[in-house]
Amino acid sequence: MSILENLQRRLIDAGLLPKFLAALPKLSMLLVSVSVMLMLYLPMDGQFRRTYISENALMPSQAYSYFRETEWNILRGYRKEIEVLSSHSSIERNAIMSSWLEEFGLKTSVYKNQEYGDSLYGVFNAPRGDGTESMVLAVPWYNAEDEFNVSGAALGVSLARFLSRWPVWSKNIIVVFSENPREALRSWVEAYHTSLDLTGGSIEAAVVLDYPGVSDYFEYIEVHYNGYNGVLPNLDLVNIAISIAEHEGLKVSLHGLTPDEMGNGDYWSRLKMISLGTKNLALTGVREVYGNEAFSGWRIQALTLKARGDTNHDVTTFGRVAEAMFRSINNLLEKFHQSFFFYFLLAPRYFVSIGSYLPAAVVLSISFAVASIDSFVNNQYVSMVDSSYYNLLSFIFWAVSVIVCFFLGNSFTYYPQPLLLLLGNVVISTIPLAAPKNLSISEPLAYRLKTISFMYLSLVMTSLLVVNFPLAFGMGLFAYPMTLVMLNNTDNLRLKTRNSILLAISNPFIAFWLFITIVESKLDGIEAIYGLVDAWNKLGSWTWFIFCIGWFPSWILVAISALKVEQVQTEPNSKKHL
């Protein structure tokens, strides 16, 4: 203690504390830039690691894969049949598929869902093992781009036939044909865990096949692994997929890039991969949904294999990747538990783990806390007692705005009006400029509103950053401009314009719209807001509500504090004590 006291005395003698407090706004800005720098630093040499299979039992590609020429004709036969099915209704399609599956001994059942589409599934009981665990081979009839998944379905059924003739399985194999990779598959996964009668034990891993078209050849494999709410499959599963695919001589691509776009593995290409990884994980549910997302939240490791191009590798190679993955997963004696659950892939074989990238979001969260302290300390109202009228009032403001935002978000899930929402927020953003002269707010309240708003945002980010790092990081970055809003005590036009612009760009919905419009060329900003609401309603993605009750209330408080302020004379420690 005495060392600390000594130190503190020195600091006070040097007058550092007031200087430090005065520098808080700069510190906050510094922390934000540190946070961005940290993310930029991650793709540098030495910051990332080469992936490795940490669970020795997996042994990818150690067994010879037999899904070869012998199956080629069977596969093509099924494909020919399925091509015709595209014009059939889903009930007929499922009936025919289920008759095929039953031919080689699978128990089948159709999960009926009027709203989201039916899903057919068949269970193959493991010849070895106690049947308490299973692996899923999922094939959506229509894929993420809404193409008929012909070869995917043909692969699904011929693989099921092929696998069911082997005696090696110690985990049940479940084959699922869902109408689409979005809500149909999601609702099946949910029903599997809640209401279905025919089940095959706990699902350990799921592989989704996506191979549209009737080509006999494909060029490379895309691996998709992002889940809802920041959930990723265990890195081991992604590793075995990549290792097996490369063992088969395939090129692997991530985030929907072509192998050429993946770059040559230098700093810039790694940076590109980490930024795409962050963006795509934050936007899961809004962008294309490939199918593996449906399994997130149930302790299931899932990924999608998607075939691209129509040259070089024959279709059985694609089947062999799935086959070898199933052999690997089948080897597991325990759940996936080693390795990493939070990571970014910088290249198929390079990754950064959570320990390296988490500080970026932590620092960002701290910068909000610093901004909060700044608006508490750096004004004449700092000596107000804790239970003073203004503190209480700002707390009530906060509580009310959270409740209002909650109901707003909730009502939006029934009647989404994105355009109205955007316009409304633009109007609120112009409050500093356009508000009538007599509408004003007392200065201490304005400061306290800012304090509580930034502290709340910091708390939201802290709680979010382990669960969904990309969302926390993105939110922090785009919400940051609101900490630069200054109190309007001079009524000068330049200040007011500046505040308006800062408010507009830090508004959750406007920022989201802007971001989508600029970055996601395939998506329309307004549609994307529908997508957010939809993802909440149908897919169980929390992003919409995090925006509504995490980010929006803070923004509203800052918008209120940007009204014209009135100075109030306060006597320290006495004014309106509770």
Binding site: I12, R299, F341, L459, T462, V466, V467, N573
Partner: protein, 394 residues
Amino acid sequence: MLYTNEKLVLLAGFTVRLLLSIGFSGLQSSLDNSVEFSTPFTSFKSLQEGIFLLNNGFPLYSGGVVHQSPLLVYFIAFFNSNLAISVLYALIDSIIAYQLLAISKCFRNFQSKSTWYIALLYLFNPLVLLSNISRSSILFSNVAISTALLYSLKGNYLITGVSIAISGYLSLYPLLLVIPLLGILRSNTSRINLLSTVVVTLAILLAVSFNTSGNNWDFIKLNYIALLNFEKLSPNLGLWWYFFIEMFDVFIPFYHSVFNLFVVSFVTPFTIRFYKQPLYAFILSIGWITLTKPYPTLGDCGFFLGFIPFFSPIFGYMKYSAFTTLLFLHAMVLSPIFYHLWVDLGSANSNFFYAISLVYALAIASLIVDLIWAMLRMEYDKGKPDFKSKLTQL
């Protein structure tokens, strides 16, 4: 007598509880399944299990599931409708709030004015509210504690003794609060009377329990020995569980005694040091037990926080209340998230959750330390608050 606004607050608290438990019937079970509000020793689920066993004529304690006192199970079994139980729980919380008001009336600082905010801060503390909705049986122990405190301040050793014995009978550790209660009672005869009342009441309760559970001492083993020995190794917000997950068997008895000693250790020192402010010693002891007991819930914490307004004359001395508040906030927000990551998603592990329970423990500890500091400062200033002068550099 109560002021009108005090009555209104009590009524509002009662109504909100009733509405929440009737209107959101799913809330009860989801809260009762959450690790923050329910433990094997306080959960309503195990109480219901007990009632089921009772109604069907099975022995209560042979299954090893029920860890609730036999008389409590009998008492709750008596209310056979869901509504009646909701009313009972809402009523008991309102009684606690009423008693807090009554306690405040015993002090000069609070006497002349309305102290509605004390009841408000208790009844509308989310921790208390949610714990009440979850129907955690800790509530019965809590009401006994607040009754004991109220009547000890009034000098009534009989009711004090009976109620503290009941709370000890229900959850064992509150029995330690007899020590600060002895400090509150000022004459030696009433102290002796209190002790003998406690002993007699406990003897009667145990005898009746023995009799009602079919002349069987199993309930002692499952209620008290299991508590002392931390036999249900399940995660909670406390400090115990993590230590006992992986420990060589030979060390376990030793550490059980160490942890129990830890709970006991500070109660007497608090009572002796703050002999002149026995109410504060009592409250600090509650805080200490909340911090160190083997199966704490947020309900315990909420009950402890309900007493904090009594410290309001010395709030000015507290040095890091903002820090404590933030610790509490982060612990509350992060603990369900980390538990979800660990148990539901399987992408984190027990260390995450334990780290948060440490933050929570730090929050309680820093509150206790801060309060003690404030009281010592008050003593130094000889009862005349002087918030301006600084005694230490830090």
